[in-house]
Assembly symmetry: C2
Homo-oligomer: 244 residues x 2
C-alpha cells in the first residue's frame, strides 16, 4: 500500500465531522480517484471516524486516515498519515502529540502502515493554522527550505502544502516540488474547478480535493483526472487540458 501512493495523482479528503449522503459518498468512492483521505481540523472523534470508514468500506477505493486527534485512531484503514507540522513553534504538533499517540498505541500500531507527512500550512486564516500556531512562510525560499527539510533531512515520503480553503500560489508549489528528490508533493487548498485541478496537478504530484465535495458534488467529481480526460474526449477534444 505504501508504494501505491507514489502513483496517486488525485485524492478526495472527507471530513468525519461533515455530512455527506450515501449517494454522494458512493459517487466519490466510485469516481476513479486514487484514494480517500479521512481527516479534518476539528470535531474529529473516534465514532464519526469509524462511522465514515465503515461507509467508505462498502467500496473498493483505498482509504487512509490522516490522524489529527490521537483519540480517533480507528483500526482498519489501509494507511495512516501522520502530519508533522514543520512551520510551527509549538512542539506538540511536531513531536508532542505523536509521542503520546505512540506511547498509548504502541502495542496495536502497525508502523508498516504509517506514513509521516512533512506538513506546511500556508493560509494563516485557516483552522489548521490557528490550532497549530503556524508561522506562514513569507517567501518562496522559506517554503522550499521546508521542502528540503522534509525531503533531504527527514526523508519523509510526503511533503504536504496545505492552503486549506484558498487556492495557492502554484509558482511556489512548483518551486518546492523542484527541490524534492524522494518525497511526493501533496497539494491541498481551494480546488473547486477542473481548471484549478489541472493547474494544481501541473505543479504538484498529488492534489487533494476537499471542501468542494460538500458544496458542489458535480464540480468535485469533475476534478478527477480520468473524468476530465473522458469528458474532453467526449467533447471531441474541446478542452486543451490533459492530466496525462
Amino acid at each position: 500500500m505504501k508504494t501505491d501512493l507514489l502513483n496517486w495523482k488525485h485524492v478526495f479528503k472527507l471530513d468525519p465531522d461533515r455530512y455527506l449522503d450515501d449517494d454522494d459518498l458512493e459517487q466519490i468512492c466510485r469516481s476513479g480517484t486514487d484514494a480517500i483521505i479521512v481527516g479534518g481540523s476539528s470535531g474529529i472523534t473516534y465514532d464519526n471516524t469509524a462511522d465514515l470508514l465503515s461507509r467508505i468500506r462498502r467500496f473498493e477505493v483505498a482509504c487512509t486516515l490522516e490522524i489529527s486527534d490521537r483519540d480517533a485512531i480507528v483500526p482498519g484503514f489501509d494507511l495512516y498519515f501522520i502530519p508533522v507540522v514543520l512551520n510551527t513553534e509549538d512542539g506538540a504538533w511536531i513531536t508532542g502529540q505523536h509521542h503520546k499517540a505512540i506511547r498509548e498505541n504502541s502495542s496495536i500500531l502497525d508502523f508498516d502502515l504509517v506514513v509521516p507527512e512533512g506538513y506546511v500550512i500556508l493560509n494563516k486564516q485557516s483552522t489548521a493554522a490557528l490550532v497549530t500556531g503556524a508561522h506562514i512562510p513569507e517567501t518562496q525560499e522559506d517554503l522550499t527550505a521546508y521542502a528540503l527539510m522534509a525531503d533531504r533531512l527527514f526523508h519523509m515520503p510526503v511533503f504536504y502544502i496545505e492552503y486549506s480553503g484558498i487556492f495557492g500560489d502554484m509558482t511556489w508549489v512548483r518551486a518546492a516540488r523542484a527541490t524534492l528528490r524522494g518525497a511526493r508533493l501533496f497539494y491541498g487548498g481551494g480546488i473547486r474547478t477542473p481548471e484549478q485541478a489541472v493547474c494544481a496537478l501541473d505543479a504538484a504530484d498529488t492534489i487533494v480535493v476537499g471542501n468542494i465535495i460538500y458544496e458542489n458534488i458535480s464540480l468535485a467529481l469533475a476534478t478527477v483526472p480520468g473524468r476530465l480526460k473522458h469528458k474532453s474526449e467526449e467533447n471531441n477534444h474541446e478542452s486543451s487540458h490533459s492530466y496525462l
Copy 2:
C-alpha cells in the same frame, strides 16, 4: 561515510569551547576510537569550531560536526549530525533552527553528509535540557516511545540518549535499543571509567565519551574498546570485561 557509522562503537566528543592541549588531542585522535564528534551546548562559534577541526585534521580519524549553532556550520567535516530534540515543546529545537539553517545554507549544504539524530535529553539539570526546555521522560515507556518515534515514524539513522554529565539507567537504554529496527542507539553521559564504558556499550550501540577527556585523559583513553581489550590481554586476561 554514512554507512561507516553503522560500525561505530565508541566516539569521543570534543567541545570547541574547552581547551585541550596538542598532546592530549593527539592521543585522543590516535586512540583507536571510531570517530570524533565536535559539539557542545554553549559557547560554540565558527572560529573555535574551525580551529578545532583544523587541529583534528592532522590525524586520520573520522570527524563529525554535531550542529548546535547555525552560525558555526564549518565546511570540511566528514559528516554533519543534526540533533532533532524529540522531548521538547519548543519547536525551535525540532524544526525551527533547522529551517533557518537550511534556508541560509541550502546552496552549500551537502545533504549526503547530513545525519539527523533523534535526540532525547534525560538529565534535567544539564545545559542541554535548560536551553531546549526538555521534558524529561518519566518512565521507561516514555523513553521507548521516543525510540519508536525516531526509528519507525521518522526513520532516523541515529537515536541519541543524552544523559549529559550523569551516568544513566542502562535498563532504560537497553529497553530503548530493543525497540529499534533501523536506527543505531548512541548513548552519552557520565562515562568516566572503563567499567562504565563496558556497561554502556552492553546497552547501547555506540557510546559517546566527552567530559572525562578534559578531566582525566588516561581514564578517557581507557574507555576505547580496543585499548581495554589490549590491556586485558597484557594483564593475562585479568579483566573479565571485553568489548568484543
